[in-house]
């Protein structure tokens, strides 16, 4: 069993240990050396264990830290101040670009050539005219007057203002022209460049332009998907757990169901995506990219998690509760529904929330059923095309613009925030309702 110990004990003479003479195994230089070596090994082993924990913790810190460092600045966006003169004729024809450009060019009277003006035009987000249009819609009195407005800057200017471009690099390596840098610096010097909280990030749908892209659509899609998942998997999961734990006879058939559920919990998530593609889209002909289908797939995926958690919670209710209920004449079903289930509910709820948190972070199966499409609109129903937060992260991570890296990290932070919230609720519920029998 233990070669080290055996080696030590095998050498022990059969005579009483205390009577050992000068040649005893437990005295002298050799013994002290062996003991030191063994204690050193003990310390090494212990340090290795501590190092393993430290490595894991370090990776966690590195993971969260690197993402937070990248994403924190995305919660701010850069805006440009312009003195816009709104010409009624232009407003009537829907031309909101011209007033913005005029106002911008007025800030740079020295720039008169076409190329220079084009550089200036590129400072503004391509969504700026729509912003102005929305402002006019809110306040029609603006037309015909000169107003100070703040409109969104282009993502390159935004990144420059946040210091994400290296100014010391030559123009070619920097990826941003000197002319734009100079124009942005001039605006900043005039106090016409400011940063504010980025509401676009939370309210807008997806966009090809980083500064106009938001995760509003993805958040709504995630909520819709999660709603379907919850409505399906929670009742079915609890019902299945009640049957298996309280009513099912212990035979081969229920043994098979049990093995099956345990295996299902360990099936790779992408397989559920294939199932969804073949059955829900292929066989039943449900629409692609719909939260309904995403929710169905997620429900099948979280079902085993919920069943396992619910069974554990039901098992924790002591048999005396059941005996008492049965003794005063309750039927088996009444016993379970009126007494056992309410007592197990906090535990079931905790397991359910953890299952939902897993469904919220899952990506792979949704790629299979087409929730990875580029969708600008915010979904309004269960069969609208939608995407979810993790998939949005996946798509943004693939985008080449450096502004999208920042947005991806911010989206990850929001997703992690939701997960912390869900798990926090689970922990609090467990603390409140924890009961020792």
């Amino acid at each position: 069993m233990t070669d080290l110990i055996e080696r030590e004990t095998a050498a022990v003479p059969p005579a009483p240990v205390r009577a050992a003479g000068p040649r005893s195994h437990y005295k002298g230089e050799a013994f002290a050396r062996r003991l030191r070596a063994r204690h050193a090994a003990e310390r090494r082993f212990r340090r290795a264990g501590a190092a393993a924990v430290a490595v894991a913790a370090l990776m966690l810190v590195l993971l969260i830290g690197s993402i937070a460092a990248r994403g924190a600045s995305a919660f701010w966006e850069t805006r440009i101040r312009l003195e816009v003169a709104l010409d009624p004729a232009e407003v009537a024809s829907g031309n909101y670009t011209a007033p913005l450009r005029r106002a911008l060019h007025a800030q740079f009277p020295q720039v008169t050539d076409r190329a220079g003006r084009r550089v200036l035009n590129d400072l503004l987000s391509s969504g700026a005219p729509y912003e102005l249009e929305a402002m006019v819609a809110r306040d029609p009195a603006m037309v015909g007057t000169v107003r100070t407005v703040w409109v969104r800057a282009d993502d390159e200017i935004d990144q420059l203002a946040k210091g994400h471009y290296r100014r010391d690099l030559p123009e070619g390596e920097r990826g941003l022209s000197d002319a734009k840098v100079a124009a942005a610096d001039a605006l900043a010097a005039a106090g016409a460049l400011a940063q504010g909280f980025n509401t676009t990030l939370f309210t807008a749908g997806d966009s090809r332009e980083p500064e106009q892209a938001g995760m509003g659509g993805a958040i709504v899609g995630s909520l819709l998907t999660l709603l379907v998942t919850m409505l399906l998997s929670v009742p079915v999961g609890i019902a299945a757990a009640v049957y298996l734990e309280e009513f099912a006879p212990k035979n081969r058939w229920t043994g098979l169901i049990e093995v099956n559920i345990n295996n299902l919990a360990a099936v790779p998530s992408i397989i559920f995506g294939l199932l969804g593609l073949a059955v829900f889209l292929g066989f039943f002909g449900l629409p692609r990219s719909a939260p309904l289908v995403g929710g169905l797939v997620m429900a099948l995926m979280t079902l085993p998690v919920i069943i396992i958690a619910a069974r554990a919670a039901l098992r924790a209710v002591p048999p005396s509760i059941r005996d008492a209920a049965l003794a005063i004449g309750a039927s088996p079903l009444q016993t379970v529904l009126h007494h056992v289930l309410p007592l197990a509910l906090p535990g079931i709820l905790t397991g359910t929330i953890i299952g939902m948190a897993r469904a919220l972070g899952e990506t792979a199966p949704l790629l299979m059923i087409g929730m990875v499409a580029f969708i600008v609109d915010i979904p309004h129903g269960l069969t609208d095309s939608a995407t979810v937060l993790p998939v949005q992260i996946y798509m943004w991570a693939d985008s080449p613009e450096r502004a999208f890296t920042e947005r991806t990290s911010a989206a990850i932070l929001v997703l992690l925030g939701f997960l912390v919230l869900l798990n926090g609720v689970a922990v609090i519920l467990r603390r409140i309702f924890e009961r020792r029998w």
Binding site: V236, V279, N423
Partner: protein
Amino acid sequence: MQPTLLALTLVLLTVIGFLAGRSRAAASVGGRVAELHSVPSYHGLYVALWAGLPALLLFVAWTASEGWLAMQLVLSGLPDRLTAGDVQSLSLLKADILNLARGISTGREPDPAVAEAARRYGALRDLAGWSLLAVGASLAVAGLAWGRHRIGPDLRARPAVERVVRAALVVCSLVAILTTVGIVLSLLFEALRFFSIVSPADFLFGTHWSPQVAMRADQVGSSGSFGALPLFAGTLLVTVVAMTVAVPVGLMAAIYLSEYAGRGMRTWLKPTLEILAGIPTVVYGFFAALTMAPAVRAAGEALGLDVSSESALAAGIVMGVMIIPFVSSLSDDVINAVPQSLRDGSYGLGATKSETIRQVVLPAALPGVVAAVMLAVSRAIGETMIVTMASGLTANLTANPLQAVTTVTTQVAALLVGDQEFDSPKTLSAFGLGLVLFLVTLCLNVVALRVVRTYRERYD
């Protein structure tokens, strides 16, 4: 709109049924409720079930078959020149009809016969919706009346209701079985179609993978090439890297936490490790692609090595980090299951703590640890997002972790993301890969879960 209307009607009728049943039960014994076999609310539930259940079953069956039936009716009315084609053109025709009926433009001027079919299809669906509403509502009313008629002092309402509830419970527990059956059947069915095009031997042992099938039959590469060996090798490589990270770190962390760490330390270190398990895989993928891959590449360059920017090493390391908590929490369980008497025996012989752990606890826990590693391997093989985001797409048969490889899951995702043509070997090959993936992970899981269970029983 009609389904919503029907659902509302059904809810309303069920509530009415409950109230009617309850009051009738009380009335049937002149208010002396104790004379009833069951309490009045069970009579209410009895009537409610009669009102709601048959109509609900009809609703489900009807909705499931309605679209198909309407399509068959419409197709039978079309001229032969349209319906005579093969399976593909037929499914295209169906899609056209569906889109036209929903008012989505197909982008081209529709054939007048198809437009007419679409109109008929829409009319049929509309008719079916209204008739379902009518039939469903009358069925519910009839059920309500029948249930109410049966109520009397001798009606055994509670056992009847309980039978229905128990049947519902059984059905719910069968959903899990149905899911497995669905997975197996859908994978098998599509994979068999794939294997009728590409022979299984070529698929499993071929060394060239290029699933891109050319559009025209006479082009180069028109057949595609489906030798999945490089994919299996790539998966294995990434898994091996992940395991070399996860197993030592996870196991040592579990040992430290369960044998060395004090109670206070454990209470906050364990949840910290578990946070790693709760982080979505897409986040790990982003981390692997943006932080780990450049770091590995820079480290390799500093050592004078040629590292691909999508190296298997970076993906594997991050996947290993993801699996650390998985290995450590499972190992923690099995280490804690080793009886204290074994440890005490070892200490009594004079062994140090680490000697006890290495030579007594771990050998005793070995089956459980092996099972934990097997479950972790199954997790690593099936993990999709990290490899999709951080490893390459080109199949590369290599054992060098510094090069880019592709994995089974990456390919499944790549083949099925975006628009796909059904019935092309490219799409179907994803199901072939899925079947292999499912079978391999299933074997690992079944064996590991069995080991864990017998092991748990041994020390209980």
